[in-house]
């Protein structure tokens, strides 16, 4: 407390008035760092040579007086006060070798850096705003002759598009890529499976046509497909030695029978 009084006595009248203005005008500060920066100006030294200890004391005194005046202080001001009180103790006490974490000097150095950086940014902002500005000091063309954009749209379509389009309308269906229509196709694999099952009963010569699956005998398309598949399957079975094939004459019915062991 005595220290604080000394401090205030050390200030001249103008500074003291300023210090009091600080307290009343607490809303005018943009947070604790801003306040610290303002306080630091009373030290009238290069920010790099600032006494952080002194600054911490100033800040704590400020918070004390604000409390005395029953000013509502925002939480972050109090957090900063607590942190500065901690910093102050670190700076004053000899370092405890068992203590982990940064030393008081490091913390102080960082605070000084933050203040210097904030001040630097404020100076930079002031320099920036002091520059000649467009629309205030220098001007752009008053009657810009804007580029007229002539946009030409060309449409394209290929003959294929056209044909697909027509196909769509004629089928009332979405165009689909070509796939073999399998409805009336009987495969050799199917025929093989079927004949393997039946061949055991074919002890005697029987016409190949009797091996056609049910429902495939009459409709020409189906009959063609089934006949071809069954014939191919019978060739395959003959090759494997399961059956024998014979044909009496050209165009005569083809007959097969199980190969006797």
């Amino acid at each position: 407390m005595a220290e604080n009084n000394d401090m205030f006595e050390a200030l001249d009248v103008a500074d003291r008035l300023a210090a009091e203005a600080l307290i009343v005008d607490v809303d005018g500060f943009e947070g604790p760092l801003d306040l610290l920066l303002t306080l630091s100006r009373t030290q009238k030294v290069d920010l790099r040579k600032i006494s952080v200890l002194h600054l911490a004391e100033q800040y704590l005194a400020f918070v004390e007086r604000a409390k005395a005046l029953r000013l509502e202080l925002a939480a972050d001001y109090l957090v900063m006060a607590a942190w500065l009180a901690f910093l102050k103790s670190r700076l004053l006490l000899p370092p405890d070798p068992a203590d982990e974490g940064p030393s008081g000097e490091e913390l102080a150095a960082h605070l000084a850096f933050q203040l210097e950086r904030l001040q630097a940014m404020r100076d930079a902002a002031a320099k920036l705003m002091a520059r000649d500005q467009l629309g205030r000091d220098f001007f752009a063309r008053g009657i810009p002759e804007d580029v007229t954009r002539v946009r030409r749209v060309t449409y394209t379509a290929t003959l294929l598009d056209l044909m697909q389009g027509y196909a769509r309308t004629r089928t009332k269906d979405e165009f689909r890529p070509f796939v073999m229509d399998r409805d009336s196709v009987y495969t050799m694999e199917e025929a093989l499976v079927r004949m393997r099952g039946l061949i055991g009963f074919a002890g005697d010569w029987t016409g190949l046509s009797s091996y056609l699956p049910e429902g495939w005998e009459s409709e020409p398309k189906k009959r063609r497909s089934a006949t071809a598949a069954t014939f191919a399957a019978s060739l395959e079975l003959a090759k494997r030695g399961a059956i024998e094939i014979r044909q009496g004459e050209i165009f005569a019915p083809i007959q097969i029978r199980r190969k006797s062991e």
Binding site: V150, Y166, P177
Partner: protein, 215 residues
């Protein structure tokens, strides 16, 4: 008054400086500026008219010129460079599905009325679609149909043939070829009755088969 007298104590800026001023004002002003207005803006003792003469000369043959607009002055692009102020962008777009289908129907069924197009497509044809095809000069009006209401018909144009690389509309692949190319499904939709053309032959074959079955 007092201010004017005070100002007249100072020398007017040199003419070159006055020319700079006129240049800046003409450039930045949103409207052409009169000589009176220039004089009012410039420091006391300036002669905007004289500066303007110099400035005008300076811009002779340049990319921009100092021109008189009514009784005021402005900076304008040199007339021969007007082409730089235009930017043409060509955008290529795919024709919409509706337009393609409509075009295809016109090509395959020409001359065809709008009602017929709608019947084939099964949906109404928007005015915009037809207009677009007319604008592209791919279709044009054919003769009016001699039926009640004398509806207008559409036919394809020479441009259409050129664009699609066709000698004539008859060169368009028939349905049979479309089917062979896998563009058309085997079974025609039941709604479609007997239309003319080679396409019907395949259908007939299927029918023949069916009749055989029945027999």
């Amino acid at each position: 008054m007092a201010q004017e007298e005070e100002q007249s104590l100072f020398e007017a800026p040199p003419l070159a400086e006055q020319e700079r001023m006129v240049e800046a004002v003409l450039f930045a002003s949103a409207e052409p500026v009169t000589v009176a207005d220039l004089n009012a803006r410039m420091p006391h003792g300036c002669d905007a008219a004289e500066a303007l003469v110099m400035l005008r000369k300076r811009y002779e043959g340049r990319g921009v010129n100092v021109v008189k607009v009514g009784d005021a002055w402005a900076v304008r692009t040199a007339p021969d460079l007007g082409f730089l102020m235009q930017k043409e962008t060509v955008e290529t777009r795919k024709l919409s599905r509706a337009a393609i289908e409509t075009l295809a129907i016109v090509a395959y069924h020409q001359p065809v009325t709008r009602a017929e197009i709608e019947e084939i497509r099964g949906v109404s044809v928007s005015r915009g679609t037809v207009d677009q095809l007319l604008e592209l000069e791919w279709i044009k009006f054919g003769r009016r149909r001699m039926t009640p209401g004398r509806p207008v018909t559409y036919v394809v144009t020479q441009s259409f043939l050129d664009h699609f690389g066709l000698e004539s509309a008859r060169d368009l692949p028939g349905l049979k070829e479309l089917r062979a190319a896998g563009l058309l499904e085997n079974r025609p939709p039941p709604s479609l009755g007997g239309e003319v053309g080679d396409d019907e032959q395949d259908g007939d074959e299927d029918q023949v088969d069916m009749f055989e079955d029945d027999a």
